[in-house]
Symmetry: D2
Subunit: 364 residues, 4 copies
């Protein structure tokens, strides 16, 4: 209803603008006795923070997390887990102009249209800093999945394309180690250098570039997901499209599958070591909204960063035509930092469905 | 939480399997004094029902709706609106074999894996009949939008592609009249005949074919949609991916936009007759999750129908490898009937956000 | 949000006015494989329907239930369970006057104030017929508790007082058999005749009378209920106060306990056959919002029936002072029929918390 | 679902144990442009904090609030409002014994039974410190009501009884000024001294005492509250029973009304200056779950404080019988500090229904 709450059984409420006291999240519904320390969360926050490599924004944000509640002696209590990351809040004069001119393809205008007000510093609630709460909650979700439900489950997101550069990734074998071993977080070693070059050249040109993140989830038990509205892929789609800068989602065969016939597309079943398996996996691991035990895989589209270092036409908040040129330090390509965000949202969807399945049938 | 409930402020709860007493929906949260009769709902149900043309399944299902509650003298009361469509329930012997053999790329196996049981007749809850409740609710949603919030708002969904055949549709001008004037519901008159031929040839071959539905929503006020998790496009994505046979969703520039640079992609603002407008619309009418007053447009991927009249490998519910050949009367292509479903889900998302915006700021 | 939906994990959506197609309920979130037939539900509906004895309203309402969906071969499927009871809908001319004059202490005026409209026949949504959906859902809830969670759990509601007549009920031993063996449903055999006399005399006088329902729940496992907002007693309080004509709720020592000191009131713990037990039970089976394994008991206040066969001052819907005298056949005392309603709401709260506890810790 | 989230349209998520980083709340759904500073919130927190007078616990807790997000230049943004109060976290050795022995009539045992773990310091989540988040949110709710919906609306809670001492309070005229002018917060000047004496004598005896809080809400518009499950009085009942130490709730005539006849109890309508009014107000301002414009009044039962300075029998967490004597500084009577808690919960229920009514009909 209110927009900043996600999940049904594992429910998070995020808060915070880019400027102000801080950003964070409260998780309600986390099972008790799950090992959890600030280090578990910090690791993921470090993967999403600015300044971590030479191809992301050089802004310095330490993003140190404090767990305010919900744990005791390194384990969850079953009570709400509140986590806070302070803002440094050194208000940049780069935002003075943006306070009155609407940045093209940003949310400045729509926030004003919706609320009649906004925090003009750094994008306020539409800032990428908002994703800190999600990533922190995703780290907890992964702990819950790992320790209670599915120790073998692996979520492996990776950069699949940047601009016209397409990576060649084998979903069966790509590992998080491979992905995290390069600063682009691409799942294809051959593409590391070309993509770094592309991002650097784009930035040098004062421009930005889009791309896609792929994600494979392995060792998912069959039976997760609710029929009808809360299909697993529907909840994943919502989760991914709720990330900033996203424009599309496809699961399994996706848009390409629409060009196939049923005879080509159907995944035939067969028995394999006593387990029901499919010979192919165009379904992407979900059938009728429910996981079938095969790998879940999907792809998310990210548009090019809206802030560019070039002059563009725009209007101000008093209705005058004007021009604006981006200032400050921004990602020329959000893809490397989007990888942990996709992972977090996937973990949040999964843990919610694990808990829901346990409510319904007693195990998951 | 429970899977068959959708919406926050305009909340529907659908019910019903393909066999049993009937299918339907209860809507809670509909404003009072909205004109509503069974004829308003029946019109949309007729657009989704089988047997309506020579290219959809010839099954005879009248799908007559009864409004059980929530209206008085042709207007809504503000109380729950329950609507029921009876099943004919002539159990087909076509389902005998399917009761024990899992149909490839259907939900038979995943329902068994999730629940340990299922209604083996006609797909049970995963049947396309389940969408009757959504379409009935969507008809009410459209009445609410039309009479309370935005009389000028138009939702125009259309078939955008079938297999390799791509329609050429002008989002600015395509009308529901044009779309409904042909049995394919394609938004491009040139493509009507080729698509009909393709569907007929596919069916004659015992095969099926996928496609995409495009949808444009015009005259949407700026300010709809909640930041962060309940972005308008996130809720649309979830709504569309909750429809049977869907595999993807993209809004605005979508996946194609990921190949562009920021300079190419950004929508510059300009004043136009005193209104803030964008010169281009790669955002697809939403920025930061909130409508900006431009046309909202998106595209939904539908896989080829899973039931085909060809023998396929599968397993039975006792774990034996076997073969299965589709029987009965099924759509070789779901696209024409998917058009009103997409429209309904779009209307349901919009009406929910109109009501939520009204709660938050007093008007929408 | 929308008012006619109850529960989180076992969620019901009720619908229907006293006149119109019918009343009923959709349950979403019911676990699969629970035995359920129409007979299970009908039994409870028969306990709440009019005309069942000489001290309740003599209106003839058969209230036959049809299960429209969600079961197969006598067991639940895990999909939504829709149940419908048709209205007879013989519109009584008794309602002609009530359509324009606001009945004192009824909801006619407040519905008009809220919605600007209402169904003037028989109270519309505020009619006691609305409770049919709750009682039907409660019957399902009891089946779920009995077959999955706590076969020994007993919910025993009873009439505890009518007017000034107080029953003497032993919570440890009172049985549903005893309660159902008399038409008042009082938990004290000595009070059956006096209460019947009181009700008959009150009715003969064209008047009505209030009373209280007590309820004891035995064999509840420890651990049910969520801290803070969704305390077990808070959810019970809401459930009971949502019943028509209720004005109060107390659990354990209740209002009388406010006059005690801590030394008198505290329930000391002791070990008993290896189990933690309390020596007394002023807590009423809940501590900190969570069941402690002792008997849960509470009491609900019902005001006298608002419709009386005497002339009263009122106003009409055009703002004129006038008078109104009740017509038709109404309960002079709602208490006997309130007993199954209280039982249903208690079962609905419990089943919801059983499922929530199972989500959180894996069993309940 | 998850227990620490309250409200539908104005939704709060509270967090924090008595020991750990802090306690607080995130509010999602607060309308934009409402004046709000930390001073507005601090004022109410000061009314609930320990150490404020000679009859409450002398513990020193400054309870200073920090608004972390959701405001800009003294006004709300429409984004989540996070508020944090730090714990001092000087872990008292008084809790050493309580870590292993279950305090009678506390939540120690039930938390262990539910979660298999708990924070043994100071009651953890069941501590009265948890109410800080509610009171902070309640302060925001009051600002919203005052500035957007009903400037004249007054919520006046007061101590109505302590032990056997009953105050004589006139609901029509009692003011917050009167209530706040005495440290008991009793609504009857004659009872100030006797109640202070009773509390002091009870404390001197190492004992505790219960009581009731009454509350009147004046100038409520007609039309608030949803029929059926979310009746205004049902939501108030849940809100009040969710407060620590509560055992009962009654609205209007309450339990006393159950002894009346309909002729005595009914509130006749009459026109008064063009407005529909009732001649009496036994309904307590709600009919059919919806406000009728008259004063809403209710009463809440608080049991005696469980912690007493006397030795009591109990068991430890290894299942041994033992004894325990309370240590530390505790309220001998929670009533004075309960007054702002009741006020906050009432404000939270009202603001939620104002927003819901605005969603449904466009104004409230």
């Amino acid at each position: 209803m209110t927009g900043s709450i996600f999940g049904e059984a594992f429910r998070l409420s995020t808060f915070g603008e880019s400027h102000g006291g801080g950003v964070g999240v409260v998780i309600d519904g986390c099972p008790p006795l799950v090992p959890l320390t600030e280090a578990d969360v910090q690791e993921d926050l470090d993967r999403r923070r600015p300044g971590q490599s030479s191809i992301v924004t050089p802004r310095k944000e330490a993003d140190e997390v404090e767990i305010l509640s919900g744990t005791y002696e390194g384990k969850t209590l079953g009570s709400p887990i509140a986590m806070l990351v302070r803002n440094k809040d050194a208000r940049s004069s780069a935002y003075d102009e943006m306070a009155i001119k609407y940045r093209p393809s940003h949310a400045d205008y729509t926030y004003d249209a919706k609320y009649g007000t906004r925090n003009p510093n750094g994008g306020g609630r539409s800032s990428a800093r908002e994703t800190i709460g999600r990533v922190a909650a995703g780290a907890v979700a992964k702990q819950v999945i790992r320790t209670i439900f599915a120790p073998e489950l692996e979520i492996v997101p990776y950069v699949a394309s940047i601009g016209e550069l397409d990576a060649n990734v084998d979903q069966a074998t790509v590992t998080q180690e491979l992905v995290e071993s390069n600063m682009v977080r691409v799942g294809d070693p051959e593409m590391v250098e070309p993509m770094i070059e592309l991002i650097k050249a784009t930035r040098a040109d004062g421009n930005s570039i889009g791309g896609t993140v792929g994600c494979v989830i392995r060792n998912v038990p069959a039976g997760l997901g609710m029929p009808v509205f809360d299909r697993l892929e529907a909840d994943l789609a919502k989760a991914m499209l709720s990330l900033p800068a996203t424009k599309g989602f496809e699961v399994g065969s996706g848009f390409a599958g629409t060009r196939m016939t049923g005879r080509e597309h159907n995944d035939e079943f067969e028995m394999n070591d006593g387990t029901v398996r499919t010979r192919t996996n165009r379904s992407g691991g979900v059938q009728g909204g429910i996981s079938n035990g095969e790998n879940i895989y999907f792809r998310v589209a990210f548009k090019p960063t809206a802030t560019i270092m070039s002059e563009q036409h725009t209007v101000d908040n008093e209705g005058n035509d004007t021009v604006l040129k981006g200032k400050g330090r921004h990602d020329a390509c959000v893809l490397p930092r989007a990888v942990p965000m996709v992972e977090s949202m996937a973990a949040l969807v999964l843990v919610d469905h694990f808990l829901r399945q346990r409510a319904l049938v007693g195990e998951a």
